[in-house]
Symmetry: C3
Subunit: 165 residues, 3 copies
């Protein structure tokens, strides 16, 4: 099945040009799966800012963390989400026909208002890596208590090409 926006960039070429390496897909931390597919849609579980097996960004925006650290945390969540999508797509991110929705949960102290800036760390990565196929609707919510003290959590809903995995 052809991509809807052909001719489109090869995602591996884009990643190489940007100097981005997709990390190994983090496993689930409890009795669930890292992603699930139904028809053409894949839903990732909540992605935390794991990096090399370590929670790279812990704490709250507006308290222990700066907006720039939050931005990097959201970017790390997005890298992990891309790893899940790659796994769901049988290893080939070119099979992502389009992102659909990104949910962004920002761990923050009372009065924090920079949720959009923080979550742009995820959205900008998706747009850079996937181009027009990365366009997505977004939800942005502040959370007072996050699992594992993570700074940010995101989920992704995406549409895949080809047969169900």
């Amino acid at each position: 099945m052809a991509h809807p926006h052909a001719p489109s960039m090869d995602v591996q070429d884009t990643l190489q040009r940007l100097g981005i390496t997709i990390p190994p897909a983090p496993g689930a931390v409890a009795a669930y799966e890292p992603w699930a597919r139904t028809g053409a849609l894949v839903f990732t579980s909540g992605q935390l800012p794991w990096r090399d097996g370590v929670m790279a960004f812990a704490g709250r925006l507006g308290a222990e963390l700066t907006v720039e650290q939050g931005y990097q945390a959201a970017r790390q969540c997005a890298l992990n989400a891309l790893a899940q999508l790659q796994a769901a797509a049988g290893g080939d991110l070119n099979r992502v026909r389009r992102l659909v929705r990104v949910e962004g949960y920002v761990h923050c102290a009372a009065g924090f208002r920079g949720h959009p800036q923080v979550l742009n760390g995820a959205s900008n990565l998706f747009n850079a890596v996937l181009g027009s196929r990365g366009a997505h609707a977004r939800l942005a919510i502040g959370v007072s208590d996050m699992p594992l003290d993570a700074a940010v959590q995101i989920t992704v809903t995406a549409e895949l090409d080809g047969p169900a995995g």
Copy 2:
């Protein structure tokens, strides 16, 4: 493709009878889209109570705002969501085959319990404007810190008739 509940009210007639004007669809405030479509489904981004370009309801339920103000805030979010659906449906709300899900996030102070009453401001509007096609599942959550200090945020998932936009 026929609507599943034909003969059904024309949505424009209903809006006129109710004296409701769909506002211009608010743009996204960061690096995402106001809505995204996959197959027959459209997902809106989180809708805030913007009115004429101003955040019409800021603050927390159970603190700065009354339940009635929260109800009006949720109604304003729902008007903006209808504007997004109208855009996604090529300008014709009659192409909304059915609402599917409404997520409602209520900005509130500790101990607030009136989430259902507040969010009925959105649900009642959807039911009034779309009739039986407005029926929806709902999530209601309290949020301690909301982007832009908005009183309420909602998202909508809906099923559209006709070809993908």
Copy 3:
């Protein structure tokens, strides 16, 4: 249409073996529906830990409630979600082709970190009752103020076999 993992356990047999009775499906507490269907997908509204018409688990994890109580609260929400899926599937849980996504919202005091353990009360039930068809992606979020003071709220997205209800 055949189930994808045939031969599969009959869900009624599994429930009987586990000594689990699906409760009556709780009604919605406001102007929405307990579930909605679009194509093969059903989305439940947020399920609270109602049991015999009473809010069986009220309060916050990390304050009034222990992790074990939270686990039981999540399990009760999951039982109610199964009741909604059974209704959406015309009374036959064998028509659940697969769970897709579980959203888990944990009502908690500042500093609580046991969200995954609490929500396993829901995930473990789904896995036990539905077997491989119960596998799901999951979101886990802490919430400072929950409707009706409920300890936990979950939603389920599932794929059903057969014609739209």
